[in-house]
Symmetry: C3
Subunit: 151 residues, 3 copies
Amino acid sequence: MTVEEKLEAMGLTLPTPPQPIAAYLPCLRMGKLILLSGQLPLRDGRLVATGPVTSTEAGQEAARQCLLNALAIIKQDLGGDWSQLARIVRLVVYVHGSDGYADQAQVANGASELLVELFGEAGRHVRSAVGVNGLPMNASVELELFAEVTG
Amino acid sequence: MTVEEKLEAMGLTLPTPPQPIAAYLPCLRMGKLILLSGQLPLRDGRLVATGPVTSTEAGQEAARQCLLNALAIIKQDLGGDWSQLARIVRLVVYVHGSDGYADQAQVANGASELLVELFGEAGRHVRSAVGVNGLPMNASVELELFAEVTG
Amino acid sequence: MTVEEKLEAMGLTLPTPPQPIAAYLPCLRMGKLILLSGQLPLRDGRLVATGPVTSTEAGQEAARQCLLNALAIIKQDLGGDWSQLARIVRLVVYVHGSDGYADQAQVANGASELLVELFGEAGRHVRSAVGVNGLPMNASVELELFAEVTG
């Protein structure tokens, strides 16, 4: 199955690559590395989750939406050819939470597990999950991603 | 115009490269990459902004000051020769704010827009802007930067 | 003295490399770079420090424990051969603190200074230290590390 077919089977779709909300690039190549700007849980121009995360499930859905935006940007950068993606390298998942909120790892799994489902071994990555008291546009999650291309 | 002339026309000057406030390096080269330590909004040894950001404008000024310190470190590392700077690659802008503060992207633009004014296309970068509840020395902003050198 | 002998002289020991607490890799190689996932201050399966940092000393001990876990992962990845470690490149130290907590740099020195004691010049790195209002498992410190291998 293609990436898009796998997503469809899960009831997910790749969005149109979001435009940066300020003066920066969506992604940048350096050698074989693609570095992405921090992605918010935007869907059709609106955030799917704002404010401190209210449940692990809501946080995971937000993390997945950040990831879908990241994947849409990567796909565009690869000219639509997923075979040029060698692997996912690294995530940082910033989770907006109340003081002492402690389930950042579970929230980040919303993105990490989807990557493995979509790309198998090539989706396995290193990761930091951290809690923060605020994010752009009052988003609940922000996700930064590094990936590696082939050739 | 040179980088210094452009800055002067904006009423800005490059500071003396700040010394690390603890046991680490100001910057480090790895291949063509220059990685910088997180920069604070220090000017003449004092922070221009402390505590949670009080306005977008104050935050942007702090972000610009962090960036000026970063550029001073890069210039020193390049032996003063800006032609060796290929491009700015990546920023992380940590913005100290009250719970739920949401204008981190606007604050980070203080640095991002200055980079484009100074370096044109070579100043365009990827970026994450996040909110935090505290920073070293109670600074209002901290900026991490990766750049790429030529040759 | 070996790394292990230096640690022993300080009363420290390398733990068994901790397993990721969720769906990600402990570390990943990309060219000469080893990227590590964010490490928590786990010792024998328990956190040595939880909640907001209560003193600089407690924070430094937590940062050191994060680093020991990182070093255990690196050692395993190097097949136990420290001579393959070229240098430590970069740390990000996330310090869980109350609003306005400002001693993140001192806390991060718990890791930075230990690196220099263990590896000399090869232990000197760039670093960002930031404050956060929560971390996975309610840990007091999280540490992300990039290192470079030889050959």
